[in-house]
């Protein structure tokens, strides 16, 4: 379908402020009487606070007050606490001090004496599962997340037997009793029928989110309302969680989150440190700013879950996967965590379409930062684990590496996971085919393995997947008497600009000139509808639907008003050039400005004085705020959606690896995506390339490791955690999209933010392994030391399932 706005580049309205520096992030706000808070965080990975002596600190000039765990709502284990007397990781906040300046606050903190009792701690899940092994929490070591259910998470003690450990040969993952499992198909027959069965144990490293904007927050109370300025990927979706964390109803909260300097999943929903200023401000009756430093961001800013795992995969002669047996031990950090196991296993079931599959898994607590979703949570760990195995199978079965991916790739009738859930559309095959052509795969693989002194050329391909869309949220638009279309969006602004590209759907439906549209967002006082946040690659799918239904509702009302004023039925009218006109006599028309004025006069549903019953209370609040200001379009998204919305990325890479130094140069990268209709080409290009860069880090440079002796993180700065630098990635990268509309989205859109990272990560891992003539490390990141050892035919320094190796 040809669109006027969709698929075209445009300048999102927040770019100017970002470029000029006018953009205000949470820590840029200043209010009268504001004081600064600093945190005293745990120096130990697990401890009990026996006593706190803050007398000297509180006596200091300029110190205003102290906030301890006794002043904030408690959280049931294993939920992350706001402040705690039983810290469960190094850097866990114990108390906060407020002072006239940050330096004074820190000086005061240095004077506080805490008597700690060190408790058993653990940074390696397998060690915790061993009989008698340490538990990360006093209540146990195994978490049941109850994700998405109204029941709170639980933590229990779970140990495997010594026999479980003794039964496996060296280097293989023991497979003791799992806490989650599912299965479909006939696993054994699949393996029996297989021409090749691969069985490997593996390690996937944890990663920090490295959000450029640390999670600072400011709060104050005014006229009974608590104002929170925070760094978040969500806006309206945040209100209920904030309400829970502060302990007041959502309508008593003003939440400002206009800009967010990256979150990558770690700022999906309000997090405990965000509400420390709110509680502190209430206690000392002063506005409180809590700036989080870069190092603190590493301590408490969450991380991706790592895995120790084991898999057995059967392949037919032609490369088709028959059965997958998967065991995952998820390093779940110190709190509730995130169900990466689901993402990993469901991802494998879709990307390789095995006829039979079994998952067994367990979430194990460690005394490391709380885990949260990170870009492709589970799916991208799956990609870096399984894609090299596809290469290995291709090699052993003498099949082209592109072909083995093609034969396994899902189509629109694929089913996902144990629930055998359908998908809305799936075009990874087209992505692979398009990429192969654009990358000139057939010619390039001829260079594969070419040697130039100590350098080896290596070409590789990989696929990655992530779900990309939800439904059931609300849309809200108003045409005001000045003729403008006001799109109210409560989605949040992670920095991807998709809040804007999805708002353009309302303009497209109403045939608006984009210049005459205004987006309202970033502040709960701006009458925003209830929308999900910017996570899970969902915005493009979810928000095009909400804006579509709201704009459609507006269009219906416009035509009704036209019929009312100019005669006939609504069906007799059409819209164009910001007018509604009679189809039979286009000279009979009303401008949108006139219609808006009429809507105000008519009231009722037309001006939003009445609204649908089924919209969320937050949308009702937003609607009440704009009621009577123009013609209102408001609706809940009840459009058809059955099944999972999948997005795919095929990554093609060409590297030259130096076997003597373990270094490589990425000569070329191309990412091709299946994201449905392309909404905003420039923004899509930056997602594909930026995602690939993040993926290269996951594959080969990033570190997030904990000292087994002390529980200390070894990486608390960007230079230690090592996301890729400009000089580690190619200066130009290619991108393309399949551009096949998804049938269950009104404009055909799907999201794509997450698989683009997996495509980059997995393709680089495959290329490195391929350059080493098929040396599959079965772990990430693959750093130069590992490559040098492998190329020299020397053993690696780490043990096969060891985590926190360097």
């Amino acid at each position: 379908m040809a669109y006027t706005l969709l698929g075209k580049d445009f300048t999102p309205p927040d770019i100017r402020a970002k470029v000029t520096g006018e953009a205000k992030y949470a820590e840029d706000f200043r209010v009268d009487g504001m004081v600064f808070a600093r945190l005293l965080t745990s120096p130990m990975p697990h401890a009990r606070v026996r006593s706190i002596d803050a007398s000297e600190a509180l006596a200091m000039h300029g110190v205003i007050g102290i906030l301890t765990a006794d002043d904030v709502p408690a959280k049931a284990s294993p939920q992350q606490t706001i402040l705690t007397n039983e810290p469960v990781f190094v850097g866990d906040p114990i108390l906060a001090v407020a002072a006239e300046s940050e330096t004074i606050a820190q000086d005061a903190i240095d004077k506080i004496k805490i008597d700690f009792e060190l408790l058993p701690f653990c940074v390696d899940p397998l060690e915790s599962l061993y009989p008698g092994g340490p538990n990360a929490r006093t209540e146990g070591n195994s978490v049941t997340l109850n994700f998405g259910q109204p029941i709170p998470p639980e933590v229990n003690e779970k140990k495997w037997t010594a026999r479980d450990f003794a039964a496996v040969e060296e280097g293989h993952l023991p497979t003791g009793e799992p806490t989650v499992q599912w299965e479909y198909g006939d696993l054994d027959t699949g393996f029996e029928d297989a021409a090749l069965v691969l069985e490997e144990s593996f390690v996937v490293a944890s990663n920090s989110h490295h959000s450029m904007e640390p999670r600072s927050a400011l709060s104050y109370w005014e006229n009974g309302k608590c104002h929170v300025f925070g760094s978040l990927q969500s806006q309206s979706f945040a209100m209920n969680t904030l309400s829970g964390l502060i302990g007041i109803p959502p309508e008593d909260i003003v939440f400002v989150a206009e800009f967010c300097g990256g979150g990558f999943g770690s700022k999906g929903n309000p997090y405990p440190s965000m509400v420390i200023p709110a509680h502190f401000s209430k206690k000392i009756n002063r506005p409180v700013m809590l700036r989080i430093s870069r190092a603190e961001e590493y301590y408490l800013g969450h991380a991706r879950s790592g895995f120790q795992g084991r898999t057995k995969i059967g392949f037919r002669e032609d490369g088709k996967v028959t059965s997958i047996d998967l065991y995952l031990v998820q390093e779940n950090g110190s709190a509730t965590g995130f169900p990466d196991i689901n993402g990993f296993s469901e991802g494998a079931s879709l990307v390789y379409t095995p006829e039979a599959m079994r998952l067994r898994g367990i979430f194990v607590s460690t005394n490391t930062p709380p885990r949260l979703a990170q870009r492709g949570p589970g799916q991208n760990q799956m990609a870096v684990t399984f894609e090299p195995l596809m290469d290995r199978a291709a090699k052993e079965l003498s099949i082209d590496r592109l072909a083995i991916r093609q034969i396994n790739a899902p189509t629109g009738d694929a089913l996902v996971g144990a629930g055998r859930e359908p998908v809305t559309s799936a075009h990874p095959r087209e992505a692979l085919a398009k990429g192969a052509e654009q990358f000139n795969w057939v010619e390039r693989v001829k260079n594969d393995g070419q040697r130039n002194g100590s350098k080896v050329r290596s070409v590789a391909v990989a696929t990655a997947f992530h779900p990309a869309g939800f439904n059931g949220f609300d849309g809200l638009v108003v045409i005001t008497p000045d003729g403008k279309l006001n799109v109210h969006t409560g989605v949040g602004n992670l920095g991807t600009y998709s809040y804007a590209s999805t708002s353009r759907v309302a303009a497209e439906v109403l045939k608006y000139d984009w210049e005459n549209c205004v987006i309202h967002r970033g502040d709960s006082r701006k009458h925003l509808p209830f929308n999900i946040g910017q996570f899970g690659s969902n915005t493009s799918f979810t928000m095009t639907r909400t804006n579509f239904v709201a704009a459609t509702d507006a269009m219906d009302k416009i035509k009704e008003i036209a019929a009312m004023d100019m005669g006939g039925d609504p069906e007799d009218y059409d819209i164009g050039e910001e007018k509604v006109f009679s189809i039979s006599d286009p000279t009979q028309s009303m401008t949108y400005a006139e219609v808006a004025q009429r809507a105000i006069e008519l009231g009722g549903k037309y001006s939003g004085i009445e609204g649908p019953e089924d919209i969320n209370p937050i949308t009702k609040g937003g609607l009440a705020g704009i009621a009577g200001t123009g013609l209102v379009g408001v609706a809940k998204d009840k459009l058809e959606k059955h099944g999972l919305v999948p997005a795919f990325c095929a990554g093609f890479i060409d590297i030259e690896l130096d076997t003597e130094t373990g270094k490589y140069e990425i000569l070329d990268y191309l990412g091709v995506v299946d994201c449905g209709t392309v909404l905003h080409p420039q923004s899509l290009a930056t997602q594909i390339k930026g995602g690939a860069v993040m993926g290269f880090g996951m594959a080969a440079t990033e570190k997030l490791v904990y000292d087994p002796q002390s529980g200390l993180p070894a990486n608390v700065g960007l230079y230690q955690a090592k996301p890729p630098s400009y000089l580690d990635v190619p200066s130009t990268m290619g991108w393309a999209a399949v551009d096949e509309p998804d049938p269950q989205n009104p404009v055909g859109a799907k999201g794509v933010g997450e698989p683009v990272m997996g495509g980059g990560a997995a393709s680089l891992i495959c290329a490195i392994s391929n350059a080493l003539d098929g040396h599959y490390f079965m772990r990430n990141p693959i750093t130069p030391d590992m490559i040098v050892n492998a190329a020299a035919g020397r053993p690696q320094s780490y043990k096969p399932l060891q985590v926190n190796n360097q």
Binding site: G91, T103, Q106, K663, D707, Q709, D785, S797
Partner: protein
């Protein structure tokens, strides 16, 4: 745990050497000499090192600049790494140093970081930097040299309670170029060969150089002996910028036809001091430059290395870098 907040400190900004010495004497061990601050600020911000007074040397003009002398070149200690990387004098005669300087850290750090600061920088062992009370910090244990210690970046030579390495990219170059360090205090000037400037834990576990509290490194002199020789510098780090070397190598070679007439070769990242590879020098001196010599050099490069649990790779890496220095220079 994390402090990450700059504390107040007394900042003294002398404008000449006499003034600087006077302040250094006044504060003794409590004084901290500040050049570009790229090593120092971390310590201060983490509140791990808390000097009484910070003596900023940036106002002392005579400590800056690159000068040609009858014997070679003299580089003021306060000259930035960026200036060195771009200097015609250095790129012309001692491109080895320009190369190394241009691979230090990141452009931003090189714009303020000085050569003096770079050779005087402290160990980068992360336990030590995290404020742990290890040997180097005056305590009585080493966290890195244990069965579980994270020691991928640590030494394979010269362990003596401490297993930290020299992290500098320019230090091995200065050793290879046979540079000398000009050191002054209020009373005297002394000249120390680059090779003797750096000290291991066996000499003093809390310091990396011979500098005494009241002393300032004023300049580095590079003799013309190795000017315009065949040079080789390579640094291997996890990332291509903004990253310390895992191992680096610096070689100055005098060729006569295809024969290696003389050579000085040194590396960092393997010992607490930049390590001069005298065995390699002896092996290749007088040999023709070919694959066989390169292989011989490589096989002798890591003799006697004792790796820790996570740094075995430094042996093949050092061997490979030596091979390349001979083969590809």
């Amino acid at each position: 745990m994390s402090r990450d907040m700059m504390p107040h400190f007394e900042l003294i900004q002398p404008s000449d050497m006499d003034n600087a010495f006077e302040v250094l004497e006044r504060y003794g061990e409590g004084a901290w000499k500040l050049a570009g601050g790229q090593d120092s600020y971390d310590w201060f911000k983490d509140r791990v090192k808390r000097p009484q007074a910070v003596v900023d040397l940036n106002g002392i003009e005579e400590l800056k600049g690159i000068r040609e002398t009858p014997e070679g070149v003299e580089i003021g200690a306060l000259t930035t790494l960026a200036e060195i990387a771009e200097s015609d004098l250095i790129t012309g005669s001692f491109s080895l140093l320009a190369q190394a300087a241009s691979r230090v850290a990141s452009p931003q750090i090189r714009n303020v970081g000085t050569i003096g600061g770079n050779v005087c920088q402290d160990a980068r062992c992360w336990y030590y930097r995290a404020g742990m009370d290890c040997y180097r910090a005056g305590g009585n244990t080493c966290y890195a040299d244990t069965p579980e210690g994270m020691n991928r970046e640590h030494c394979i030579y010269g362990a003596d309670r401490c297993v930290a390495v020299s992290p500098s990219d320019t230090a091995p170059v200065l050793v290879a170029l046979d540079a000398s360090m000009v050191i002054r205090n209020s009373a005297r000037e002394r000249i120390v060969a680059a090779q003797d400037f750096f000290i291991g834990p066996d000499v003093n576990i809390e310091r990396m150089t011979v500098l005494e509290p009241g002393e300032i490194l004023t300049a580095i002199r590079i003799p013309s002996t190795w000017a315009g020789s065949t040079f080789y510098f390579e640094k291997v780090a996890d990332r291509n910028v903004w990253d310390f070397p895992l191992v680096n190598i610096a070689a100055a070679i005098k060729m006569s036809g295809n024969t290696i007439e003389d050579i000085r070769i040194a590396c960092a990242g393997v010992e607490c001091v930049p390590r001069r590879l005298t065995v390699v020098e002896d092996v290749v001196r007088g040999s023709s430059r070919d694959e066989e010599t390169a292989d011989l050099a490589a096989s002798s490069a890591a003799r006697g290395a004792i790796p820790l649990n996570f740094n075995h790779f430094k042996i093949p890496l050092l061997e490979n870098l030596v091979r390349r220095a001979i083969r590809d220079s």
